[in-house]
């Protein structure tokens, strides 16, 4: 468990940002990941008083405050209607209700964890992160960057109509996933996102146009095989590279069929 010398509930983002420029400072999200690290934190900067704990729905976007919890994401009626329940499915096996009442969307995205259901899901949508200093950055670009001393304030999801699906495989419910897979079709573009490879989630677009003429058993199977070929996988305790490549194919096929309206 980390040691904390000083704890501050920031009164403004500017104050939080200034405090965070010291190397020993840390922003606190839900603190679930952070607390498992070793060492000493000079100033723990809590964003809990900055009104960043809401999920707002406007005419054309969902705006997720960095301190909104995974449970809020799971239960948000608008977001789940828009994603056909994929939002809830993406997070519902993360540890437990108590955990999801604490883990934040901001901490989950900032961490850019390889195993992340949250990152996999958000990458399948039209998502941008808002950084206090860096402004708005497409999530796909943000996911590739190295962490710095900025602050993630909000996540913007554009409400472009589309079809969405989410599937993950866990050896045991509430375990870290062996593979995650999200699929979307937005404005004619099909994206599959594969995470827990075990590397960070990767977006694979349907460049050859395999699903262009519709989703059938056959085209879904072909797309699954294509995505598996494009996805580098590796081995760890939760699965071998070969197993993961197999899962990438199967979960993508299932997601495609689900997005196409079939029961899988």
């Amino acid at each position: 468990m980390i040691q904390i010398q000083k704890y501050v509930q920031a009164e403004s983002l500017e104050q939080a940002y200034q405090l965070n420029q010291k190397r020993s400072a840390r922003i606190l999200g839900g603190m679930l990941w952070l607390r498992l690290s070793r060492g000493s934190v000079g100033t723990a900067i809590d964003l809990c008083r900055l009104g960043l704990d809401t999920i707002e729905e406007t005419q054309d976007a969902f705006i997720l405050g960095a301190m909104a919890t995974l449970r809020q994401l799971e239960r948000h009626p608008g977001l789940n209607a828009y994603t056909h329940g994929a939002a809830a499915r993406a997070v519902q096996d993360i540890v437990g209700v108590q955990f999801r009442n604490m883990a934040t969307v901001g901490g989950s995205v900032w961490g850019r964890f390889g195993f992340s259901d949250v990152l996999t899901f958000l990458l399948s949508l039209d998502t941008a992160v808002e950084l206090y200093h860096g402004g708005r950055v497409p999530l796909e670009e943000f996911a590739r960057r190295k962490p710095d001393a900025d602050i993630l304030t909000r996540i913007h999801i554009r409400k472009t109509p589309g079809r969405f699906a989410y599937q993950a495989l866990r050896v045991q419910r509430t375990d870290l996933p062996a593979l995650t897979c999200a699929l979307s079709q937005i404005e004619g573009e099909t994206r599959a996102v594969i995470g827990a490879r075990p590397g960070r989630a990767l977006v694979i677009r349907d460049a050859p146009g395999i699903l262009r003429d519709g989703i059938t058993e056959e085209s879904a199977r072909a797309f699954g095989a294509y995505v598996a070929r494009q996805t580098p996988t590796g081995s760890n305790l939760r699965g071998s590279a070969a197993y993961r490549s197999h899962l990438a194919e199967i979960l993508t096929r299932r997601c495609a069929l689900e997005a196409g309206g079939q029961n899988v």
């Binding site: 010398q5 000083k6 809990c48 540890v95 108590q98 955990f99 009442n101």
Partner: protein, 159 residues
């Protein structure tokens, strides 16, 4: 040291704490021994308490962040819990009993949020409460029996 004020089981409380004191240790030092440390890695649910009515893991929350909030532990919810714990005991669902307080706290949260849960909803809501003795079926049967008895007019029951 820093000062915090919060409500613990309905009573206002002011205390001096270290900035990295965890809520779990704070609660135990204030006599709430139902709150236990199991995994200490946010995985087992043993340390579950309610913060503003929502179940959270006290092993993973700074006491400093609980300032200004209402915390409830099993010590403050005995009456509400008494309704169904007998049904769990009837099933012999607990063996060593160590997981029981966290399990009871989260079941309270479940029944407040979903008064008539399905089996899947019960399993989903309690998935974050690990029990290494019994395999969960006894707890599920106990909750089912409690719901059934409530539907029938709530005759008193339990061990």
């Amino acid at each position: 040291m820093m000062e915090i004020q919060l409500t613990l089981n309905g009573k206002p409380l002011t205390a001096q704490i270290e900035p990295d004191l965890l809520l779990l240790d704070f609660l135990r030092s204030h006599g709430c021994f139902s709150v236990k440390r199991g995994c200490d890695t946010s995985n087992c649910g043993l340390c579950t308490v309610l913060m503003d009515g929502k179940p959270i893991l006290s092993c993973s929350l700074l006491a400093a962040r609980a300032a200004g909030h209402a915390i409830q532990t099993l010590e403050g919810l005995q009456e509400e819990a008494a309704d169904f714990v007998g049904f769990i005991a009837d099933q012999g669902a607990d063996q060593c009993g160590f997981c029981n307080p966290g399990f009871v706290m989260n079941t309270l949260a479940l029944l407040r949020e979903i008064p008539e849960p399905t089996d899947d909803q019960i399993r989903g809501f309690l998935a974050g409460n690990l029990c290494r003795c019994s395999g969960y079926e006894g707890q599920l049967r106990g909750i089912r029996n409690y719901l059934e008895s409530r539907r029938k007019g709530g005759e008193n029951h339990g061990a």
